[in-house]
Symmetry: C3
Subunit: 282 residues, 3 copies
């Protein structure tokens, strides 16, 4: 399988998945809406760096897990722990999520977490994906995604889990829930979050075709809220955050909950259905 | 009544309906969201022609029932049988629906099926309308409407039942659920399909006023996805279909079902409510 | 408290509310999504003037309660009585709502109805707000808001309760559900009506930030349907109304009910939840 992965890396993610599913057809393994490749990193160097500015109440969470900020179990666990810490910290009112890597925000779920893994491990991984989304989509903090690179699949999910999305104005960067292209199915809560963001029809087209949108196209359909030059993504996020924090927290939080509670409750009450469907390769 | 019909044909469909409802006020007849006029055709010449290209897996279904491809019971029965055959045919993965007639895709439900007919016959007709929509909206095939002419009422329903809509870029061609203009009410599943396609507010305006949109206006509100010169409608549909078929079938099918199942289930569980309201003429 | 109000009037509504909530923190008073200030007017001069043109079947309801058409209990009661009269009048088919005041359509709920008032009085007031919305959103008449001035908070609710919105093309006039800015939370049925009008994402942004939109921006997100020069707002509403009344009433009414019934029923079945959350000042 190592060979398969090495070889298919040349062909992009779609090729990888096709070949992987051939090889894993007989095993009891789960397939996920991811596509990034990453060597398991056993080092203990943190994959996430958080800086909280106590004067403004704004934390910047930097994803720094080369090569592409894959959402592995380790990454997600670290992400959730950091999110929880900030959520409990009364001095933190706003969260900006960005990447330290060049050209990529996050390439999504780590494919290596799902192939050749035991169902238990697989379940643990999916629980972590859900936890990430639940914490982010329901956060009491004002959350802004400073998308300074491509953000497919799980990276897109993380982005649309925030309150606001600012993306680098670079047509080579793309964002979208492209799982279907890879022969897999985005879970219903990915779908619900997308529908909430871009509406039913754009979500339908987007998911049936597994579309990745260039930054300008993403703006057109409302998948991101604003494009700025690449070197101004973070500073614009900081400026925008100060507008969000000018709104009384309590009223904003209750309003946010009113908007998002139904979607969150649906996942919570459907936890048994959240394992995505296994779909054979074409 | 034949006289009424002959006379009112001059005034367009709205006039027809007004006069018809005067004449049918006392009978127990159902009124439908249709407006096309068509002599009952007792010939056995097929109203639909299907060509399946086995090399591409794409079928083209041509509606060829002059003068306006009215959706009569005969037409709908033939349509559904053809759809079912293609659905069962493993070699068919994509369906393009178009018209052989000049200037019209389909003028919608055949009014003659509902006036002066027994409730039983009327029920049979409405069952066929539902069946057409259920089969189309829930099809496992990728479906594209190649709308090469006007497509009001039931013709619009057929179009928005597909996955994608390409329309001739001709401002004289119109599309829309214009039932209200005719003094009748679009059934809830017409409404649901429209809301899924253009969103709640555009659907509300559209249905309350019974609006017909010119091709350019239809594109603006998202009622169709693309306009192309009239002579390129079918070829563009073929090109577009090849993009749809590049997506793994199984993932696309499950995703489509995830998007549309709720709307389909609503009709299935409300079959008693599907007879449209009778509304008096103004 | 009179001093507080006088002083804070200088700082705009937000300042008012912040200070008011400090002063009322200990009492059992309800806070509402309003912000207009108005001396209680004990005179019996009517706050609303209705002219029904029997030749056209169109009534014009003019709000004439200086300085800003605040929705006080008296105002709402008068409004509802007039609405009910017109609703019962078979000769009235269309309703245009506008303001006689310069620069303001309605500044929303009257803040004085909620501070320092008994829970009973407060409940009576909220019942009147709901009644206004229920009657308007569910009206059998075709309803057009001729928005000839600013229309924040409750004024916006009134506008989006109509079938169609024509606003003066003046960038200094604004409209929106800006409650959150004031530290308070718009009730769920305000939210539902906004989502129905501009879609989920625009409503989410709008409500989380308590945004007021200038007339041109309101048009962009679909919060109003049309902008016209200020002196043509009413005449355009009259012209537009004649198009609405060209649609058969009965079909339009059933269609409208089909579109809005679910939202209305949700309020009716949740009447115990309709008291908005009390939110502390920041």
């Amino acid at each position: 399988m190592a060979n398969v992965l090495r070889n298919s890396a040349k062909f992009g993610f779609s090729g990888v998945l096709s070949q992987l599913s051939i090889h894993s057809r007989h095993g009891r393994e789960c397939v996920s809406p991811c596509f990034s490749l990453q060597q398991r990193n056993n080092s203990t160097s943190p994959k996430i760096k958080v800086d909280l500015d106590n004067s403004t109440g704004v934390a910047v969470l930097r994803m720094q897990s080369p090569p592409v900020n894959s959402l592995s179990l380790d990454f997600l666990t670290e992400f959730c722990i950091n999110l929880e810490k900030l959520e409990m910290d009364k001095s933190c009112r706003g969260l900006i999520i960005t990447s330290t890597l060049s050209k990529v925000f996050s390439a999504g779920l780590d494919i290596m977490e799902m192939y050749g893994k035991s169902p238990e491990r697989c379940g643990e991984f999916w629980k972590a994906v859900q936890e990430m989304w639940l914490k982010l989509y329901g956060s009491n903090m004002a959350t802004i995604a400073a998308i300074n690179g491509s953000s497919p699949a799980g990276g897109c999910l993380m982005s649309i889990g925030c309150d606001y999305r600012i993306m680098a104005d670079n047509p080579r960067y793309s964002i979208g829930l492209n799982e279907t292209q890879l022969g897999i199915v985005a879970p219903f809560w990915f779908k619900d979050t997308l529908v909430n963001t871009v509406g039913n029809r754009a979500a339908e087209l987007s998911l049936e075709l597994g579309l990745l949108y260039s930054a300008p196209d993403a703006l057109k359909i409302g998948l991101v809220d604003q494009l700025v030059p690449e070197d101004q993504v973070l500073s614009t996020a900081q400026d925008t955050m100060s507008k969000w924090l000018a709104v009384p927290d309590h009223a904003r939080q209750i309003t946010k909950s009113m908007m998002r509670k139904q979607t969150i409750d649906k996942l919570l009450s459907n936890s048994l259905q959240t394992m995505p469907d296994r779909s054979p390769s074409p």
